[in-house]
């Protein structure tokens, strides 16, 4: 049995597919969020040097990872849209940006709340913090530029350029703690090393990471559906939906 994947590159069929997927991801996000917070706050042990305050890690790290990951996904969709002129890819990029910006803000905000009691400061201009702030500006720049251009196809192209240029910032954020002296500590979890965390702490954090993933997918699909309706408003199938009173 083979699935015709190209079928779903058309906005109309993706619209209905996304509609079916949203509840699944939303429910998974809710279950994972509740169990992740439970493990994080009640099962994971107190830390030997930071006490209870370290528990903000269960929000901070998933938010920071998602902020970087979503940017890469956004840039890939924007790049595909730019290269192949596929409408849906550009719509995906547009739909990802606000969620990515939200996670970036969350990472900066929780980091600041964490920095004050542990490091002794809300904010320092070290390489890690500064490059993450630049990421927030890139997301905001992408969204404002797209909002400023009336013709959606030109907006897609202009946005794609920002998204692709900004991709160089992602490895800078990730490796900043290795390349330069920073106040921010190195990675506790990385591909080529055993994690420097107790296993229940790690479990709680990974559950929260999956919760963030599921949430991001659900919200982005919801947003892309709205964008599809907006941009395909002139087509027959949208008119049909309206007649049926579904949209």
């Amino acid at each position: 049995m083979s699935i015709n994947w190209y079928k779903y590159s058309s906005p109309s069929s993706f619209y209905s597919l996304a509609g079916k997927m949203i509840p699944v991801f939303a429910v998974l996000a809710a279950i994972l969020l509740v169990s992740g917070l439970y493990v994080g706050f009640f099962v994971a042990p107190t830390d030997f040097q930071q006490g209870e305050a370290y528990r903000i890690i269960f929000i901070h790290v998933p938010a920071a990872w998602m902020s970087m990951f979503l940017y890469v996904v956004m840039a890939i969709w924007a790049g595909i849209g730019l290269a192949f002129n596929t409408r849906l890819s550009s719509m995906m990029a547009t739909a990802i940006a606000p969620t990515g910006a939200m996670f970036t803000f969350l990472a900066l905000w929780t980091g600041s709340l964490w920095g004050k009691p542990m490091w002794g400061t809300w904010w320092v201009w070290d390489a890690r913090l500064t490059s993450e702030l630049i990421l927030l500006f890139l997301y905001i720049g992408f969204m404002s530029l797209q909002a400023a251009i009336d013709d959606p196809r030109r907006a897609d192209k202009a946005g794609a350029i920002i998204a692709l240029v900004g991709v160089v910032n992602i490895p800078i954020i990730y490796f900043s703690v290795q390349w330069w002296n920073t106040l921010h500590q190195g990675a506790s979890v990385s591909v080529n090393q055993a994690p420097a965390m107790a296993s229940t702490m790690l479990t709680g954090m990974l559950i929260m990471v999956f919760a963030a993933w599921m949430y991001a997918i659900a919200v982005i699909l919801k947003r892309v559906r709205v964008i599809i309706l907006e941009r395909e408003g002139h087509t027959a199938w949208v008119a049909e939906l309206q007649k049926e009173g579904i949209a």
Partner: protein, 149 residues
């Protein structure tokens, strides 16, 4: 090559060129991206002289001394090969401890003492329950003892 493949190739080439450019720029600015200098760099006169800068390392074991007045504190920062004495007046972060990481901002005085006006704690990336930390410490001590024998 189809036009759309050409376009894709151009995008890939553009992003690659941009990546190379940023690597070169970051390399050129290497010294400006440093958040703090190590005691070795300070001794080697790599840190700015007469200007405010940050020094980072570990708080030397047994070096922390408080004045009778209470808020003035003397300690030294080490990277195990060089040690710099520091004077600071103010409130220290909770994680400030002997043998732990620290970053201090201030100026070098003429007599080689670093006059700090801000002290931040730099913690490591390890997270574990206190019992595990104790066990690790004990293991390190027995290892040291067996090495000494």
């Amino acid at each position: 090559m189809k036009p759309r493949h050409k376009k894709l190739a151009m995008i890939v080439a553009g992003v690659t060129a941009l990546g190379v450019a940023s690597v070169l720029v970051l390399n050129a600015f290497q010294s400006n991206l440093v958040f703090f200098f190590s005691p070795t760099q300070v001794v080697a006169k790599e840190a700015p002289i007469g200007k405010s800068f940050r020094i980072g390392g570990l708080v030397t074991e047994g070096s922390v001394q408080r004045d009778n007045s209470g808020t003035k504190i003397h300690f030294s920062v080490t990277d195990t090969s060089h040690t710099i004495p520091v004077v600071y007046t103010g409130i220290l972060p909770d994680l400030f401890k002997e043998g732990k990481g620290v970053v201090a901002q201030g100026k070098m005085s003429d007599n080689g003492v670093f006059l700090a006006d801000e002290v931040l704690a730099k913690h490591d990336e390890n997270y574990m329950p206190p019992e595990a930390a104790e066990a690790l410490e004990k293991a390190a001590k027995t290892q040291k003892a067996s090495l000494a024998e």
